[in-house]
Amino acid sequence: MSVVVDKPRGPALARRAWTGFIRRREASVLVVAIALVVYFQASTPLFLTTDNLRNIAQATAPTAIVAVGIVFLLVSGEIDISVGMVAALAPYLMHYAIDFYGVPAVPAIVLALLIAAGIGLVNGLITTRLKVPSFVTTLGMFYLLYGILLTTSRAYPVAVPASAKGDVQTWLGAGDWASLSWCLLLVVFFHLVLTRTRWGLHTISVGGNILGATEAGIRVNRVKVGNFMLVSTLGAFAGLMEAFRINSIDPNIGGGTRITFTAIAAAVIGGTALAGGSGTVIGALLGMFVLAVLQNGFNLVGVSANPFFLIQGLAILVSMIANQYLSRLRRAGGS
């Protein structure tokens, strides 16, 4: 571009910074996150203590990891509501492999992740080949996995297998900041994948204009199936991490639909469109952080946990309305 623009100064600079900021999808949720931190810190000195920050981190990390996968799938125009059940099943798969088949710990973990990827593959194939809407496909898968989980485990929690204790357990969730570290690592990695790689570009294209993407020669079904596999694998990883952290394999990990719905809420609050074509991984992390801070802050301030869901519901609605408004601003102003 050959146009010479004079350096903006004073108000012009501020205005440009402002438009640049609101053009980012993460803008609204970042403002909310900062406001909440300031508010709760002002309300109670317990908020910004190491112990409490670790609580928040541990509440944020597993669901944020699921939310990363959910962002990819939503961007590609699909949804997965079975992922929470994959999270619950994965630690059992590891337990079965180790305790019933004598598989060493690390291969057993890899096996659990591979089976999860296989579940995603099935979700993806049913959705793309047989044209069953993904909401319905994964609703069926949810109950199917729930049944498998309850019959094979008889609904009893079990201990983390001995061979998976020690370093493996520490690194994969039991360490103080292990889950947060994994979460940040995966968020950065998948942020790059979504914004800087062919896979990300094609995922956006498939969700934005599926006919156009097909005409451009993109294998749209492959992209969708891949993202189903990604969500399931990340769900399994989050489930394993939780099992290691709480030092027990429990059928209630993920709380049935809770982890799924919270992850979808985090993605949506973070600025990902359910209609496909746009979304942000960093936004989903911030969205999850906001939800975790709300719950944690309410606890500390001594408000009963009951109105929490009311606030979460409002947060989803308000952030959706704000995103609509901001995207209109983005379209009108900016560039």
Partner: protein
Amino acid sequence: MADALRVEGVAKRFGALTALQDVNLHVGRGEVLGLLGDNGAGKSTLIKVICGFHRPDAGRILVDGIEVVLRSVDHARSLGIDTVYQDLALVNELSVYHNMFLNREHRIGPLLNNRLMRRLAEEHLREMGVDIPDVTVEAAKLSGGQRQAIAVARSVYSAARILLLDEPLAAMGAKEATIILDLVADLKARGDVAIVIIAHNYAQALQVCDRVAILQQGRITFDRPTAETSVAELTDLMVADYRGRRRAAPG
């Protein structure tokens, strides 16, 4: 030398609807074929068969004299067949330059080479004389004509040897249409590209085409060198077809 593209006896049905029937066509290198026809005649369907989007129900496609069975758009593209679709196939959520390189991205290792794609997109658009000041804006923000220019640019600069243009002039102002027609003329002058262009404006079509074919209700009914026809004749043919059908189906 064999024609760059030959279509022999191609048929395509959508359920009970026969969109194409026994279609025969050929285009040589350095030749521009104009494809005319009413709305719904099957022009886009024919383009989509040649570019690998639809599988034909019958017939053969030959590239440089060799029969090819196109498995996908990607496959056709690897044989040098590139398309500007009537619906343009742009992704609103992506920037102009990402659209221009969609599914043929430049990369450094696994990462997109955005800097290179941005520069090339700017260069190509400038070369074409298309006025899009900022290639980083989302395609959603462009006008209809600008969108069409992007779609044309990405195919024209794709090093295609068989170029299929489905109504590339539809949303164009007079100046922009001239830009595109000039571009087609330049490609033709290179002598190694075979071009099929669909147009509804016969004057524009005759201006660049060497030959004109008419598709009516899924069949080729006319195929003649441009020099042996005229806007008046083409218009007559189209309207005669309509009048004939009207007479055949009274009431």
